[in-house]
């Protein structure tokens, strides 16, 4: 790799870090969530509502956030359930330890455990995550208010409205599960079998297995179909370019085929975040290069 500047360890830039440590460390934990929220809001604007006649809430994919933020682990921390996130870091004596870590000193190392992070977005019930089904790693994120509004709008006038409202009331404040099994539905949520059938009929739940259901977005079938077709078309555009690579700005400016129903930028964030194309920084901007071995 031709590097004009060598990689330097953080420790050797110690003096500079100390000066701005005061601003960066305290600012970080609050800024992290705000950053993610603003990125989500930006991605929501890229979603084409009119395509689905306004019946679908704006859907953003979790890996689209990776294309906007460098640190994937930090993004995951904000979005994934916080109680499964407990890394142990081994800090050496000189590194400044952010406030939300606790330190236990063992015989030779200081092991630092992070407290269960304030996962503002999902714990507060602001954000809902869904398993879309076409890829085990592709998760959809929807703002809870949008989801509730659209679902109730779709259910207006139908008999299942009451059950759906009850379900949403239970779901939105605290629950961050992607799927539910029968005991949970019957015991915790106190739904009856017929009510569960109504929920499946309304599209809020999708069958996963005998006795368990995925949380889903009603009318999302069309979304998934257009999404997969559009993704394939955009990847094809990158592949067919000369040398299999294209500048990001140029791709954004290209005319989309009829296969691509979403905005180009939406698809570009998706393919960069899912690492279906290689992202290379050049002097003329970001270059997207087709990666061999991708059958998508």
């Amino acid at each position: 790799m031709n590097r004009k500047r060598a990689l330097i360890a953080d420790t050797f830039c110690l003096t500079k870090r100390r000066r701005c440590a005061a601003d960066s460390v305290t600012g970080d934990s609050q800024d992290g969530a705000a950053d993610i929220r603003s990125s989500l809001k930006y991605l929501v604007t890229l979603f084409s509502r009119k395509l689905f006649n306004d019946s679908l809430p704006p859907v953003v994919l979790k890996h689209q956030l990776y294309s906007l933020h460098n640190d994937k682990t930090a993004v995951d921390k904000q979005v994934v359930r916080s109680d499964c996130f407990r890394p142990t870091y081994k800090y050496s004596s000189w590194q400044s330890v952010p406030d939300h870590f606790i330190i236990t000193v063992t015989h030779s190392e200081a092991l630092v455990f992070s407290l269960p992070r304030q996962n503002e977005l999902r714990e507060n019930g602001e954000l809902l995550m869904f398993q879309l089904g076409f890829d085990s790693e592709a998760f959809a994120l929807v703002f809870a208010e949008d989801y509730r509004a659209k679902v109730l709008q779709g259910e207006a006038g139908r008999g299942t409205l009451g059950t759906v409202e009850k379900f949403l009331a239970k779901l939105i404040p605290s629950c961050s599960d992607l799927s539910f099994n029968k005991e949970k539905m019957l015991k915790e949520f106190l739904f009856t079998d017929s009510e569960i059938t109504q929920l499946v009929k309304s599209g809020v739940l999708t069958v996963r297995d005998a006795g368990s259901w995925w949380l889903s977005i009603p009318n999302s079938g069309k979304f998934i179909k257009y999404f997969i077709k559009g993704r394939k078309a955009v990847l094809g555009m990158v592949k067919k370019s000369k040398y299999g690579e294209i500048l990001k700005t140029e791709l954004e400016g290209r005319r989309t085929t009829s296969q691509v129903k979403f905005q180009m930028k939406y698809h570009i964030h998706d393919i960069i975040g899912a690492e279906l194309v290689e992202c290379i920084q050049t002097t003329s901007g970001t270059l997207l290069r087709h990666v061999d071995g991708n059958v998508n």
Binding site: R3, A6, A9, T11, N70, V75, T88, S93, S136
Partner: protein
Amino acid sequence: MLSFLYARQSGLDDPVRLRRAESTRRVLSLKLNHNRDVDRIHGNGINTLDIEVIDGRYMLSGGSDGVIVIYDLENNSKKPQYTCKAICTVGRSSRHVHKFSVETVQWYPHDTGMFVSSSFDKTMKVWDTETLKPAEEFQFDGNVYCHHMSPVARRHSLVAVGTKDPKVQLCDLKSGSRIHILQGHRGEILSVRWSPRYDHILATASTDSRVRIWDVRRASGSLFTLDQHNGDKSKVSSEAVNTAHNGRVNGLCFTADGLHLLSTGTDDRMRLWNSGTGENTLVNYGKVVNESRKGLKFTVSRGCSPEFVFVPCGSSVAVYGLHSGELITMLRGHYNNVDCCEFHPDYQELYSGGKDCNILAWVPVLRQPGIEDDETNSKRGGTQAAINPAFEDAWSSDED
């Protein structure tokens, strides 16, 4: 750097700090060096490398042609240009050579008098380094993908062997017996690794997408299975519950302190686990390209802070920060797929071998001296500025 030296000298800092900082700087500046070369003996791809722990001087390599070579890594010539010579080989002409590809080689952890190699010819051979003849040979029913001896064990000398059979076999070097079996996996065992912290903890990875941690002293099954979702059954489809990866798990590596375990899988992901509790630390490394049908051999640095993971990715070696998950750099230099890499902890060098039959040595770049430096500077002790050659006195003689 000077501030570190001064701080160490005056007692402000722990001595370890300077060592860690300098090791990290060296690892970050790994590059191919035209002065360092490794003898090219293998005629076919290189599958495995191992550097002995005691001196860090001798390196073993096993190739797809069944050949095993021992190299001397130490530079005794006084010149910077050095080729690591092959001291001895178990070549195709030897009577005891493996018939098919050698998949794993490992030095005996306590001295270099012995090494163990396992191969696709369904055997595992324990060699005497002096005579290069096998002292012991273990026969198996299926291809042997990997084996590992515990680096810290004093009370036992068990070799864990992973073969096509879902049962992990433990062979005892002292008695030659192989009756101890670990049952629990449902697919071929692609990687086995002993913990460097406890001599009874073993991790195994298999094609059934599971990684199991065993305590070999227990009679019952595994201690636990690593679950990528940390018990959150709601996230996955029901078949994928309790799996470590969404594909075959083909690489395992413990960190040097044994507290964390890394696993790579054919779902192009690498995961970092807490080896004590089996929890997924959810560090996201992104897409770690992995197309290997056999085991993948990767390694973690030692003595740096933060630690680095070196993973063969296609025809280059990817360097990731262990706890941050960011891709630091890609080491490009091989002409074909890289199969294995090994880190030399004393010199912070990386040796990688692949299908192009080359072993490349990635050497840290030395600190660059000042801009005006040339040979005259080093003779004067480096304190005076060098004189431009045009002004050098090349005509007056000393007799004046």
